[in-house]
């Protein structure tokens, strides 16, 4: 997935703020698989590459801070542009409760800019964000908050590394996590459900322009790129 130039400088001038906090997140998956990505004993990390990791090198748990943000990732991934196709999907939606430390705060385009990073890293091709993830991991960050490329206005939380889900029926925040390096509490929200059809028009597909990124460019007197994002 690389529709923008990859030669964006990934390293920062100022280190992002490191947040400690709690986040209620959402994640959609195939109903065949567990809520989180783990595969103990695999010859190499086999999660297909995403914005914040490369296949073969590491794992990452991709979460959105809003349910529609999670669904929008599905619409964007499968290029679901028709309501009929969205209705034929069957996906699980999970609530994931994250209590973490050292989460890099790149939750807005302003925060990217303040760190000397090009905000296109948040919404453009993956090479630059994967390189930035290398730097974040090396600096001891455990995850990153960043604007969603798939749905303007939504923030995604990506937790670096492998995690196992503890499926709970009740208050996920009350569960005494015995090992935050290993576990995240989760709860089922939707089982084998369709993707909301509004996302067939509202999701930012790879070839579509990301309007909130563009508004930021305009507001900051930066030139608008001819093509997406």
């Amino acid at each position: 997935m690389s529709l923008t130039p990859v030669a964006v400088v990934a390293s920062w001038r100022a280190e992002p703020d490191a947040l400690r906090g709690e986040w209620v997140c959402f994640r959609q998956t195939s109903p065949e698989w567990p809520a989180l990505y783990h595969n103990a004993g695999a010859p190499s990390p086999d999660q297909e590459s995403g914005r914040w990791h490369r296949k073969g090198e590491s794992y990452a748990q991709y979460l959105a801070l809003a349910p529609l943000g999670a669904w929008a990732e599905c619409a964007r991934y499968y290029s679901l542009r028709s309501a009929r196709q969205a209705r034929e999907m069957k996906r699980n939606l999970w609530l994931v409760f994250v209590r973490e430390t050292r989460i890099a705060d790149l939750s807005t385009f302003d925060r990217y800019d303040a760190c000397g990073l090009d905000p296109v890293v948040a919404v453009g091709g993956h090479a630059a964000s994967q390189a930035l993830a290398d730097d974040l991991r090396a600096a001891g960050f455990r995850g990153v908050l960043s604007p969603s490329a798939a749905l303007p206005g939504v923030v995604n939380l990506t937790v670096f590394g492998e995690r196992y889900e503890r499926v709970l029926l009740t208050d996920v925040a009350a569960w005494p996590n015995p090992d935050v390096d290993a576990w995240l509490p989760v709860q089922t929200v939707v089982e084998s459900g369709p993707v909301p059809v509004s996302l067939c028009t509202e999701a930012v597909f790879l070839t579509k322009k990301h309007e909130s990124y563009r508004q930021w460019l305009v507001a900051n007197g930066r030139p608008l790129p001819a093509k997406a994002p």
Binding site: M1, R27, Q28, T29, S30, P31, E32, W33, A35, L36, Y37, H38, N39, A40, G41, A42, P43, Q47, E48, S49, G50, R51, W52, Y62, L63, A64, A70, E73, C74, R76, Y77, Y78, S79, S82, R84, Q85, E88, M89, K90, R91, S146, S148, A149, A150, N156, T158, Y164, R166, N177, P178, D179, A182, W183, S192, F205, L206, T207
Partner: protein, 235 residues
Amino acid sequence: MATALLDPDTRDSLRSQAGQVEDLLEWSVDQHPVAAEELDERLARRRKWYLGLEDSVRDLVDALPAGVEDFEARQLFMFLTSLRRALEADTTANDVDGAVQLAAARVGDVARRMARRLEHAALEDADEAAGYVFEQLGSVGVSDLARVLGVSTKTVGAWRSGKPVRQKAERLKLVAQLVSYLRYSMTPTGLVMWFENEADLLGGRSPLGLMEDSVSGAWEPLVAYARGGRGQLAG
């Protein structure tokens, strides 16, 4: 492990055994204990569960052609050992540090990977792949099936009636593999739409278009695209 060379009965038996290991791990031994359960009862129950799991793992590994030389078999035993040690260390049987659950989850990862590998190996046989595709896409019309498989409706009918696959075998096997990755994520109609949909991640091409260009060339990008749907990735 050359699972593709196994006869279908052995493969089915192995898949069933791998499934049994998975089922035992799904049977959560500690998540909902009875409040009145005494420590001795609890320890005994966990011991019984572990021994059942160990027996299932041994049966599965014994049935593998490479036995304990199989990479995944060694992984299974390694994590099974971790599980046993975690159980032994958990003398109060309440798994405060989560070590028992974590070790069990890791055994589950390996069992799931083995089950999937056996399923995919079965689909390397064109006749089995045909049966699998018809089973999974049973509700789909014959003309849709013909389009996905790149053959005539007459050929679809012949394959459905059990005639051997003599043409487009590689495409059929690729379709079967893709269906195996996607079948839980969409309905049969949705699967046909996936094959026809022009996908941004494929450079605006449809899976059907890529297969029509070259089945061998389409294999890697389509499998990666299908696999990537396992769980959310920030796009």
